[in-house]
């Protein structure tokens, strides 16, 4: 299962992947192919059709589903297996976006591109190994805040001068 997000100009960021087969170097092509395919499928869909797509072979067969949501210029795509509820995942995407919004204060596309690591962290608080970990937005935000605090305190104490930039 993976989470992806794509904008309308076909610059896709594979945010998170969780399938051992996707880990090896040789499979990078497959990854790219998945991204392209997914984007292709999702982007040409009308607004008024449903948000679930049955999985093709690429994403692991029909047990898997693509579930996506469209926000302004961005598509958020989750690929999940049949153990998850479709509408539940749709809501999870909403929670994800709302959380991003809270953490970045009015999130925009550039935030996501410039702070990939943060987005990763937020997603990691929600989804772990492709499974839903936490759905409570406040809990997630608390965790992220705690991390930021830790990070800040460490940076403050240990930061060496930025010589090379």
């Amino acid at each position: 299962s993976f989470t992806g997000l794509a904008n309308q100009t076909f610059c896709t960021v594979l945010l998170y992947k969780n399938s051992p087969s996707l880990k090896t170097r040789e499979s990078e092509d497959i990854q790219q192919q998945i991204i392209r395919e997914t984007f292709h499928l999702v982007s040409k869909r009308d607004e008024n059709v449903c948000n679930f797509l049955e999985g093709g072979l690429l994403i692991g067969g029909s047990d898997n589903k693509l579930i996506y949501r469209h926000y302004a210029t961005l598509y958020f795509v989750f690929c999940v297996d049949s153990s998850e509820s479709e509408l539940g995942i749709l809501d999870l995407i909403q929670v994800f976006v709302e959380t991003l919004d809270k953490c970045f204060e009015n999130v925009c596309e550039l935030d996501l591109i410039f702070h990939v690591d943060k987005v990763h962290n937020i997603l990691a608080e929600m989804v772990m190994g492709g499974m839903v970990l936490e759905t409570n937005m406040n809990e997630i935000v608390t965790q992220i805040d705690a991390q930021n605090k830790l990070e800040k305190s460490e940076t403050f104490i240990f930061q060496s001068p930025r010589q090379d930039r």
């Binding site: 008024n48 509820s85 749709l90 809501d91 190994g129 970990l133 830790l150 460490e154 240990f158």
Partner: protein
């Protein structure tokens, strides 16, 4: 930090500039890592982070792993975090570093620092490799159930364990901790409960008994959530819906078990389900789509559970009504899910009758808007389809709508033809092969719609651009029934031909091949088109076509049309005989998808109708044979027999010069063909697991058999060898030459169709005169029910789900018996495969055991079968368990198979 890392590539204006910039950066980092000066933690982190980003941009990274591993042992969160991130993204499992990484993880797990523990658990879950499982699978349960573990760690530990279990189930030891995991359902922290439910749902599929207690806990948890006001759960309330994810998960968990036996628990659950259904009728607390989404997510799971239980008629009716409402909803998501649920409802195997009446409820709900019940559905279906033309692989909805709505309730087949042709016109790309195969099947089988269908396709083909599938249907139907509309000058034969031929060049090879067959059929139907069509066939683009198939067809059809007399032509190109009225391949496919006992061979649905249609186009043995004599009818196994030269009238396919009594020098030559000599066991028993061999032998006669089976059909070749040097006279079965010369062999072909499940093998009676005395032999034919077994591959999860669904005592048949042959696993494997079931690897936790799955295909029904064979080498015993959806089948198969070992 990240901005500065990112600035690097972003600064590059073009691709080349970016690559240049990155190479420079990589060189810089490399030199830093190699430098004499030891790097401090911060710089290490910085460079590792840069490497990671460069990798994510799609460039290769071949160094820095060691530095990343070093970061793991840092005691600063940010450094550790980057280290772990790098490891989860970039480390491959064969790496030297695994030992070091595992060591660092071990330290973090033991650190009692919740943040570090979570990082370590995340890393394990994200990598999820077998090595990780080996190292930590026994450690994590301990963390999970320890009393002093923090909530956030428990949550991560539960999911981490789930992940390891999914990758390497054999490495996760069950034990004392399982009962304590179940009690996590009572945890204060909702996040912990959610994670625990996911874990238990997966674990209990394999060990339902170990986790049985979770049912009552889940029910009480669910009821607390469902009955709470939307403010009670505070943070876990999502748009006024209390804990939707947890509710969904709990309902999913309950779907792993049969209805609770304890009346109190059951009562409470029913109450919950009623509340959920009631809430659906309440006015929404918010206009936001999130609110209704969350509410409906729970509702759909509740409905699935109701369907799964299949025991509360009251709830079932309400569920159906609810689905009916959703079917009319303007939100496509809901329509889609409702259709899906409706399918499960419809294909629920155990209460077919009950479900039927419920489906009526759904239809009634649809009536409100539609013209009539059927039109309503049709319209709805097409609406959904037209709007959702981009259903990814489209199949699911197509099948659903077509199968359920049209097939089951089509009373008027012209309506069906209309619907499907419309469907092909509107969304040809998304129509699966089954759909158009099926429409042809229907048209051929019902003469009342043939004229109508011909007219409709003729009209449809007049559209300037029409879908290839339409051309296929059109070609087929006009080839068969074009004569029915030929009277009208607007659709005279030549007009029909020209219309079809105008599409010819735009079509794929397969379609063109089909059209060529249509043309030859036209020559038969309308002699006046012969010259035109021969001209077309003779053209270079056909007769010299680069495609072998097309070329062959063109050449053969041309010859056929010029050589054969009208009579021969008429016989060869006879109208297709009706297809055996079997279950629709579409419905079968649907069942396969949803039904518990049904199979799941992916391409199977395609193959089957393909064989019907293409095989049918050129009359092949099975169709031509249908008109010929019957030899030994049997209540449930009809045999059709004929000497085989007539089997292939066209001779287009290489016809074996079969029963021309090929004289062989000595009868015993035959024995060499079938290497193993007849053993002492009665014939049918020996043939349970194999299809070829010697069926019978005495001093005079030897009968060899060769057979093949597919789906519910089979063909059997019997070879009668005269072992003497004297002629046999008045040899019957009559299909065989009445005179069998000394030392000669004759062949008989039997076509077999399995109509329903059976236990007694059909008999064949052989009579002949040998030197004046009448010989009379009656034999059981080696046809047993398992011959119609179709192997089904499935995952362990599916297997156990189905296994569980077949848990009624009468569905199971078990036998414990002593081994009669040496217990060789390879031999056993071969026997099970010969028996017809698929052998499923890695399903049974005990590798010595064998499990198999398949479907018994009969004309009237399909029976899903699961089997498990447990050898006990010490005791020299086997235990065989069969579970099928039909009692008689379980028993019979169990008997048949148990005699084989």
């Amino acid at each position: 930090m990240s901005t500065f890392v990112l600035a690097a590539p972003i600064a590059g204006k073009s691709k080349e500039a970016e690559i240049k910039r990155i190479n420079k950066e990589l060189a810089n980092i490399r030199s830093k890592f190699k430098g004499d000066k030891a790097l401090d933690g911060y710089s290490k982190k910085k460079y590792v982070c840069k490497l990671l980003f460069i990798f994510l941009l799609g460039h290769d990274i071949d160094f820095g792993h060691m530095e990343a591993v070093n970061l793991l042992s840092s005691n600063k969160y940010t450094e550790k975090q980057i280290g772990y991130l790098f490891i989860s993204v970039l480390v491959n499992s064969n790496s030297e570093l695994i030992r070091l990484i595992n060591n660092a993880i071990k330290n973090d797990l033991a650190s009692r620092n919740p943040t570090f523990m979570c990082l370590a658990l995340h890393c394990i879950a994200n990598v999820g490799s077998r090595e990780m499982a080996e190292a930590f699978a026994s450690e994590i349960p301990r963390i999970l159930v320890a009393g002093d573990t923090m909530d956030s760690v428990k949550q991560s530990a539960a999911l981490c364990l789930l992940r390891l279990y999914k990758t390497s189930p054999d490495l996760v030891p069950m034990g004392e901790w399982t009962s304590r995991v179940v009690h996590l359902l009572n945890d204060q922290h909702m996040g912990v409960v959610t994670a625990a439910v996911s874990l238990i749902t997966c674990l209990c599929k394999k060990n339902p008994d170990d986790f049985k207690t979770c049912v009552s806990l889940a029910v009480s948890r669910l009821s607390r959530i469902v009955s709470s006001a939307s403010t009670d759960l505070q943070d876990y309330t999502y748009y006024f819906v209390p804990a939707p994810w947890l509710s969904v998960k709990l309902l999913r968990l309950l779907q792993c078990y049969p209805p609770p036996e304890d009346a109190a628990v059951k009562g409470r659950l029913v109450e919950c389900l009623e509340t959920v259904l009631n809430k659906a009728q309440e006015p929404p607390k918010s206009k936001k789509v999130q609110h209704s989404n969350a509410k409906n997510a729970i509702l759909f799971e509740a409905i699935s559970l109701i369907i799964h239980y299949d025991s509360e008629p009251n709830l079932l009716v309400r569920a159906c009504n609810q689905l009916g409402q959703f079917l009319q909803h303007r939100e496509t998501n809901l329509r889609y899910l409702a259709l899906e649920s409706m399918c499960t409802l419809a294909s629920s195997e155990f209460s077919h009758e009950a479900v039927k009446t419920h489906i009526e409820t759904v239809i009634n709900a649809l009536k409100v808007r539609g013209v009539g019940p059927l039109r309503g559905q049709e319209r709805k279906g097409l609406d959904v389809r037209a709007g959702g033309g981009a259903w990814m692989s489209g199949y699911s909805l197509e099948r659903e709508v077509v199968a359920i709505l049209a097939e089951k309730y089509a009373v008027d087949y012209s309506w069906y033809v209309d619907t499907i042709l419309n469907l092909i016109r509107i969304a040809g790309d998304y129509v699966s092969e089954e759909v158009w195969y099926r429409v042809i099947q229907i048209v051929i089988n019902r003469d009342d719609v043939q004229g109508y269908a011909a007219k409709t396709v003729f009209e449809a083909l007049q559209a300037p651009a029409c879908h290839e599938n339409m051309v296929k249907v059109g070609g087929y139907i006009l080839g068969e029934f074009g004569n029915l509309i030929a009277g009208d000058p607007r659709s005279s034969p030549l007009v029909q031909f020209n219309l079809l031929h105008s599409k010819f060049h735009l079509c794929s090879v397969a379609t063109r091949a089909l059209l060529l067959s249509t043309y030859i059929k036209f020559i038969n139907l309308f002699p006046e088109t012969k010259a035109t069509i021969q001209e077309v066939l003779r053209s270079d683009s056909q007769i010299r076509n680069a495609d072998v198939e097309l070329q062959q067809r063109a050449v053969e059809y041309l010859k056929l049309s010029s050589i054969a007399s009208t009579d021969v032509l008429a016989t060869v190109l006879e109208e297709m005989p009706p297809f055996p009225e079997r279950e629709s391949s579409i419905l079968a496919k649907l069942k396969k998808k949803k039904g518990p006992g049904a199979g799941s061979e992916l391409d199977d649905g395609k193959k089957e109708p393909g064989a019907e249609i293409n095989g049918g186009m050129e009359p092949s043995a099975s169709t031509a044979v249908r008109y010929l004599s019957l030899v030994s009818p049997h209540p449930s196994c009809s045999l059709q027999s004929t000497p085989s030269p007539s089997a292939d009238l066209l001779g287009l396919r290489a016809a074996p010069p079969a029963s021309l009594a090929a004289p062989t020098s000595a009868g015993n030559l035959l024995v060499d063909v079938f290497s193993d000599s007849p053993a002492a066991a009665p014939a049918p028993c020996r043939f349970v697991c194999k299809n070829n061999g010697v069926l019978f032998e005495n001093q005079l006669l030897q009968i060899g058999v060769k057979s093949e089976f597919r789906q519910n059909l089979g063909r059997m070749y019997l070879f009668y060898g005269n072992k003497t040097s004297v002629q046999f006279q008045s040899f019957t079965p009559t299909a065989v030459d009445p005179l069998v010369e000394g030392g000669a062999q004759v062949q008989q072909v039997l076509n077999i169709e399995c109509l329903s499940d059976f236990t007694l093998a059909p008999l064949i009676n052989i009579k002949f005169r040998y030197g004046g005395t009448l010989q009379n032999i009656t034999l059981k034919l080696p046809i047993t029910l398992n011959k119609f077994f179709q192997a089904t591959e499935m995952q362990s999860q599916d297997f156990f789900q189905r296994w569980k669904q077949l848990s009624l005592p009468q569905q199971e048949s078990q036998k414990i018996f002593k081994a009669n042959h040496p217990m060789d696993p390879e031999v056993t494997k071969a026997k099970l495969l010969g028996f017809g079931s698929a052998l499923l690897d890695k399903v049974d936790p005990n590798p010595d055991n064998f499990v198999g799955a398949g479907i018994i295909q009969t004309k009237s029904l399909q029976v899903g079968c699961l089997l498990r064979l447990e050898p006990n080498a010490q005791a020299q015993m086997y235990r065989l368990t069969l579970r099928t959806s039909k009692e008689a089948v379980s028993r019979h198969l169990c008997e048949l198979l148990s005699e084989q070992f």
